[in-house]
Amino acid sequence: MKNKFILILASAFITLTFQSCEDQLDIDPNSSLIAGTAFKNVDDLQNALNSSYARLNTRAITFNSIFTDNTKLGKDNGGQETQLHSLILDESNGTSAVLWNSRYAIINKTARIIEASKIIDITGSESRVNHILGQSYALRAFAHFELFQYFTPDYLNKEGLAVPAVNTIITIENLPRNTVAEVIALIETDLAKAISLLDTSETNNKYITLDFITALKARLYITTGDYGIALSNANSLIAKYPLANRTQYENMYLDSDNTEVIFKVARVTGDNRIGNTWHFSGGGPFIEMSNSLYNTLEVDDIRRNVLFNEADSNPDENLHKINKYPGTAEEFLSDYKVFRVSEMYLIKAEVEIRNKDYAASKITLKSLKDARFPTPTATGTYSAVADGLTYVLAERRIELAYEGHRYLDLKRFGKGLVRDDKDCSGLNDACSISSDDRRFTLPIPLSEMNANTLMTQNPGY
């Protein structure tokens, strides 16, 4: 009897705790949404689009300025960006990983929007959804194009390797690299879809508009060597957007003028501040304008006022602070100008030079320069394609400085990087890179190589 009693007690002991605890073992996360319930209505699609835009970071500005001849180490440098400025570029480099991951994040986020739009009920909101989808396709095309620019060794070899072209939601699937032709084909398809879906009345240049697509096409086709299409797209924007005058040009970088801005990425309180690419908060520069860029700036060029911080610099003591993004409401907080019409003039001129129509190109370039100087400027004196391209590259360097172009321009124009001795002293031989150097194509990031067995690395890395 007693033993039985004890047996019952023993089982009661074990089971009592057991039963009351079993349901405590299934715990769902408290502070997040479970995937199945994330998308419920059109607002959610819009919110997901807001997240896609937010990944348009300014790493291109960082890399194109610090890895080139437009900067030197600053007065207050305590080691910031010295690896990059020393031209050390290998597969563990942060720029590769940031560009790769953030651009594929845009591609992934937009793919999720496109998929979710098929599931949720959009009745009555079709036009709103179409505009969201149009922006999604356009963003995806832009992200693919940027990846293409940095990771493709040879833009003109249609069968050469580019980057994975992705139009589905990838989670753990490994993808190989697609060819140049395949990536361009996907970009073209996405742009065509975007044109058919976008709301044509939208003109806010902080969001995707039809003009964004035209500008992207001009940039895409000048890169792929389809100069005729590049020119027609550039021309249609030149017809629509005037060049900023000198006052408007200065105000453009204070974000109070939009005369020639086709698309800019908004930067509001809480966002990264572009000026912090080169400065500590408070203004101490760890990276400064290079002597070589400074020496090319003419005193009465309005772009000198915009690029160079005259007040806080002292060229005699090799102190040249960058001024392009001073910020207004907050120090260094400025919008990121992605497409301006002046780039279209430069594209137009480049095509004209490549077509040996030097006279037309000189007029195109003069009209751009005249807008920047108080008095009419002299025209170029070149009479050969190579000289003309050198001239247009020099003009691009000044007009588009610190806007994410210099490295890509050197790559596309097939020019080596040559720094002024004053800009690279103290850095072990980091004064030049020849045009055929592996470093003119970014390495596939190490994290991708580690994870993705189908991925092939760029030559030389």
Binding site: L9, A10, F13, L16, T17, F18, C21, Q24, L25, D26, I27, P29, N30, S31, S32, L33, I34, A35, D44, N47, A48, N50, S51, S52, Y53, A54, N77, G79, T82, Q83, A97, W100, N101, Y104, A105, I107, N108, R112, I170, T171, I172, N174, S256, A266, T269, F280, S281, G282, T328, A329, E330, E331, G426, L427, N428, E448, N450, A451, N452, M455
Partner: protein
């Protein structure tokens, strides 16, 4: 939970049955040791759970039958067994010193060391009671072989990294489980616990010892119990007081003096000496900028030559008081203690203040025993600015960084001798590093970073013996921690005034409250019996439930009203608008940021333990435990862990004739333990099985919705197979005692952040079970009582361990072009197959080319090259986790004097010296001081030196080379204590029972090749970058009993 507990108790009480005893008689007697009666000795009838305890006079009473065997045991003493004959009085004398027979605390119970199959180490609590460290864990360093404790943050009460038998996971938790009075407690926070309350500490190492803790036992288990009273004891009052000072260790890197520095600046054409001082510096030193300094100007300016460490570092004070009351009546005992502790760190603002209360009660009536423990700790930590580990400590507020940066010709003092906490008043002009030292002083003086914590540990434990052989146990425990962190940058501080630059009101205040509640309940039954006098058998079954909950709330307000900082009245209302740039758009500067977070974890387990031994000569045990963890998906929730062990006491069998050998026992164990802690932090990684979305701030001030995690629903238990063989022995009648252990632990399904394609949208890692690793090692412990007589006792002891860690596989990670499989090749210390965790992966530095002063490196093949390329990195046979570690100590008592010295050591361990690297980076000369080694730079062809030409020495610290990889092995005199106990004749007519005075020193001496302030570091912090060093602490104390 509470309701359920009540239910069980009711059930228990309702089922109490009367059992009658046949032929029983009352046995009584006195138990004593060499010095007199021994209170608190456990007297148990062998093979049953029936027992009694001796009272303060060493007297016990127990009801037993003739033929029963009484087992007398006391922690720290030899166990003794006596068979009851005709006599009703049995007096017993217990002796100490025989390590093998001591009673030790094991998982979920107590056991005689004689019958234990497992590897464990008991630490004498007396040896840590008097320690001046603020955390009990720091006092455990070098106390047990295989237990590696390193503290890389010298903040009083700062957290330590605890490793037992090596690093046994890659991204999962590696630290041991800590149990206090049966409650699992947070292994990362001991600053609010009073170490004077601790009675015993046991370190469980192998599978047999730890498997009973199943799911959490991979990193080993450390069990602590707090002090309790004993039955019928005399009430004692004990007071312990200590007071002393904390000192910063002396830096070994020599910096340039003002004259040398100005000369170097002139040579390099930078900074003040190069004629490039800013307006403020020019004014302070009284020499205009423009031209390089003349010798006269250097001599004039170098009249100021200060050591900034004097301004930022200090000698701290430390005080502690402990008062305890211990009493015991026939049925109940109590232990009550009050503690106060205060310690200032070695830098401004750094301190810990703590108040503790503890009350432990026991109540025994017939077969029912109830004990409760309750402790409450209140602590307040003031933290210095910018302290961190590794690269995180590069903050410019860091007071350990600033003395290296500051120019010695700029004084931290005003003319009137007060501290200059402003420097250059024009902040924008001074924003560069040159003003950093003044900003650090300003931050140290004006800003506040404070953590106020309440920690409650409480447990209730009830046992009831149904019969002589069957007992039940139920316990409930809680570990409650609430921490309020408050961070204020007042409007008048430099950082505060810069925190809201464009708005009218400056200053910032952050407060966060974090509440962590961990509860557990345990119920179990134990059956013990002895068959045929020699077959000792026991079986236990338990079920345990753990539930933990974490909640956090915080706000961050920017914009405070001057004079009201730190109070609720000081917030500028969030709806206030301004328009400083007059663009007609109202700007909101004062909207506070809010944060709220919650997570919970639960675990349910049931387990059983069987033990059998033949007359204490040889035995076996078996433990099986099933655990369910809420951290995994439904299908992977359950894990089964087990272990088996065996012992054979050779002294009691084949060696019983030996004169030389006094004890000898062989042990072996094998088993499987588990780990569900996917991340180091307790509440991290809970959502890994789920695909998640989150909302946050989006583009252009909007709301965004985004996929925030790729889930891994297949996540499962990480498991470790542990095997251990050991011996415990004593020689020459126990004059020499010791133990050796050999172990091999193989961890599979290791938690790793598996690389994933970035095409997934940047989800470049997924937590998964891939890979395997092993830890193999040896441990030894030896004690030699050189002299042991009435007047003179001298003993020496040593412990040491060797641990070899190796990553054995990393599936899913591809071999690189050199055939190496490396998980994280971007790091300076890597995880790679065939190598120790955190092996350094660096380009080998080959000195300086005498021809041109350029740095030289070795390429992969070992050829000298001037090119620095990451492709030339090699995996070095050097890692940040020590291969050898341990300690040795000596204890001397001569009449009333005592001397105790404890040394700790680690060997074959390497760390990057980022501090030295910074002081040799001449790129920083414009605003930083330099090491005197820069004077030895290459100057002309033919110079043979290890310091490159100043033309090439800039920026080298950022390269991944082994130039600054240093041997961080050390031997340290961890503690030295000298005591004097007042003689009985002196105390005869006082109310004191005993009075002892002592002096004690922590970290008095260190022998090391390491060139920084402190060689001690966590294996996870591979680069020393101005971390907070452990201080030297000197205290005087008194210990009074009445």
């Amino acid at each position: 939970m509470k309701k359920e507990f009540n239910g069980i108790l009711t059930l228990l009480l309702a089922l109490i049955v009367q059992v009658t005893f046949a032929q029983e008689k009352q046995i009584s007697g006195t138990v004593s040791d060499e010095t007199g009666p021994l209170p608190g000795v456990s007297v148990i009838i062998k093979g049953t759970t029936t027992g009694a305890e001796t009272n303060f006079d060493g007297v016990y009473q127990i009801t037993a039958k003739p033929g029963d065997v009484l087992v007398f045991s006391y922690i720290g003493m030899d166990q003794k067994s006596i068979t009851i004959g005709n006599s009703n009085t049995i007096n017993v004398t217990l002796t100490g010193g025989n390590m093998l027979d001591k009673v030790v605390i094991i998982g979920y119970g107590k056991q005689s060391r004689e019958n234990i199959t497992s590897s464990l180490t008991s630490i004498d609590a007396k040896s840590i009671e008097g320690r001046a460290t603020a955390s009990i864990v720091q006092a455990l360093q070098a106390k047990a072989p295989g237990l590696n404790i390193s503290t890389s943050n010298g903040q009083p009460g700062g957290a330590s990294q605890i490793l037992l038998r090596g690093i046994n996971s890659i991204s999962g938790n590696v630290e041991p489980l800590f149990i206090m009075d049966g409650i699992p407690i947070d292994e990362d926070n001991f600053r609010s616990i009073n170490q004077a309350d601790i009675a015993t500490i046991t370190v469980l190492k192998d599978a047999s010892a730890t498997a009973i803790y199943g799911n959490r036992a991979t990193g080993g288990v450390i069990i602590m119990t707090s002090k309790k009273g004993t039955i019928n004891q005399k009430t004692t009052v004990q007071y312990t007081g200590k007071s002393g000072y904390t000192y910063a260790p002396k830096p070994t890197i020599k910096l340039l003096n003002s004259s040398q520095l100005l000369t170097l600046e002139r040579l390099q054409k930078v900074g003040t000496g190069g004629g490039k001082a800013n307006d403020y510096v020019s004014e302070v030193i009284g020499v205009p900028s423009g031209n390089a300094f003349t010798d006269e100007q250097i001599a004039q300016v170098a009249k100021t030559n200060v050591n900034w460490a004097d301004a930022l570092l200090r000698t701290g004070t430390t005080i502690s008081h402990n008062l305890s009351f211990t009493s015991g009546s026939e049925n109940s005992t109590s232990f009550t203690s009050l503690g106060y502790f205060e310690q200032e760190g070695i830098t401004l603002r750094s301190s810990l203040q703590r108040f503790n209360f503890r009350n432990n009660l026991t109540y025994t009536k017939n077969k029912f025993k109830l004990s409760t423990t309750f402790s409450a700790g209140f602590s307040r930590s003031n933290l210095a600015g910018g302290i961190g580990t590794d690269s995180a400590s590069g903050s410019l507020s860091n007071p350990f960084l600033t003395p290296y940066l500051a120019k010695p010709y700029l004084s931290p003092y005003n003319a009137d001798g007060s501290l200059n906490i402003i420097g250059n008043p024009d902040y924008d002009e001074a924003a560069g590093f040159l003003n950093t030292p003044y900003v650090a002083l300003n931050t140290a003086k004006l800003d506040i970073d404070r953590e106020t914590e309440i920690k409650i540990l409480a447990s209730t434990n009830a046992t009831y013996n149904f019969t002589d052989h069957l007992s039940s146990k139920i316990s409930v425990g809680i570990d409650f921690t609430e921490e309020l962190s408050k961070f204020i940058q007042p409007t008048n501080s430099i950082r505060g005034s810069q925190s809201n630059k464009d708005a009218e009101f400056k200053g910032a205040q952050f407060e966060g409250i974090r509440r962590d509640t961990r509860m557990n309940t345990l119920a179990g039954l134990t059956y013990i019996n002895t068959f045929g006098d020699v077959n000792n058998f026991s079986i236990s079954a338990f079920s345990e439930f753990l539930y933990s909950e974490y909640q956090e709330f915080s706000y961050h307000q920017v914009g405070l009203i001057p004079g009201l900082e730190g109070t609720g009245a000081g917030f500028v209302p969030g709806e206030t608008t301004e328009d400083p740039n007059n663009d007609g758009i109202k700007d909101y500067y004062y909207i506070p940021t809010l944060g709220s977070f919650k997570s919970n974890v639960s675990q349910f387990s049931y387990f059983t333990r069987l033990t059998y031994n033949y007359d204490n000569i040889a035995g076996l045990d078996l433990t099986v435990r099933r655990d369910a963890s809420s951290r995994f998906n439904k299908t992977n929730k359950w894990g089964t862990f087990w272990a088996t062990g065996a012992f054979w006491n050779l002294k009691k069998s084949v060696l019983n004739e030996s004169k030389l050998i006094s004890t000898f026992k062989l042990r072996a164990s094998y088993g499987l333990t588990g780990n569900d802690r996917v991340s180091n932090k307790y509440y991290d990684g809970l959502s890994i099985p789920f695909d998640l979305y989150n909302t946050g701030s989006g583009y252009n001030g909007s709301v965004s919705l985004y996929a925030s995690q790729l889930g891994n629903p297949n996540l499962k238990w990480e498991t470790t197979k542990k095997s251990n063989i050991g011996i415990d022995f004593g020689l020459f009648n126990q004059k020499i005692t010791g133990s050796f252990d050999v172990y091999s632990n193989k961890t599979t399904d290791v938690f790793i952040n598996r690389p994933n394609t970035g095409v997934s949208g940047g989800f470049t890692g997924i937590k998964d079970n891939v890979g395997s690793l092993t830890n193999k090692g040896l441990e030894a412990q030896l004690t030699y009582d050189l002299i042991n007589n009435d007047k003179f006792f001298w003993s020496i002891s040593a412990n040491g361990s060797y641990n070899k860690n190796e990553i054995t596989s990393l599936p899913g990670t591809e071999a690189d072009i050199n055939g190496n499989i490396i998980l994280n090749a971007e790091n300076r210390a890597i995880v790679s197959v065939g190598h120790t965790y955190n092996s350094y992966y660096l380009v080998r530095w080959a000195g300086v080319n005498p021809a041109n002063g350029k740095p030289l490196y070795l390429d992969r093949e070992g050829n000298i090259t001037e090119e620095y390329s990451l492709n030339n990195r090699v995996i070095m046979d050097k890692s940040s986790s020590p291969t050898y570690q341990g300690g040795f100590s000596t204890s001397i008592q001569y009449k009333a004097f005592s001397l105790d010295a404890n040394f700790s050591f680690t060997a074959d361990v390497y760390r990057m010296n980022g501090v030295l690297a910074l002081t040799e980076d001449t790129n920083l000369l414009a605003f930083s001081n330099m090491s005197t080694t820069t004077l030895n730079s290459w100057k002309q062809p033919g110079d043979v030196t290890s310091y490159p030409s100043l033309k090439y020495s800039g920026g080298l610290r950022l390269n991944n080379t082994d130039r600054y990889l240093e041997d961080a092995s050390y031997i340290r005199l961890k503690t030295l204590a000298i005591g004097y106990e007042l003689t009985e004749t002196v105390l005869k007519n006082t109310l004191f029972d005993s009075v002892k005075i002592y002096a004690q020193a922590e970290n008095l001496l260190t022998w090391t090749k390491w060139k920084g302030m402190d060689p001690e570091f966590s294996p996870y912090d591979t680069n020393d970058f101005f971390s907070y060093p452990n201080s030297q602490i000197f205290t005087f104390g008194v210990d009074i009993k009445l």
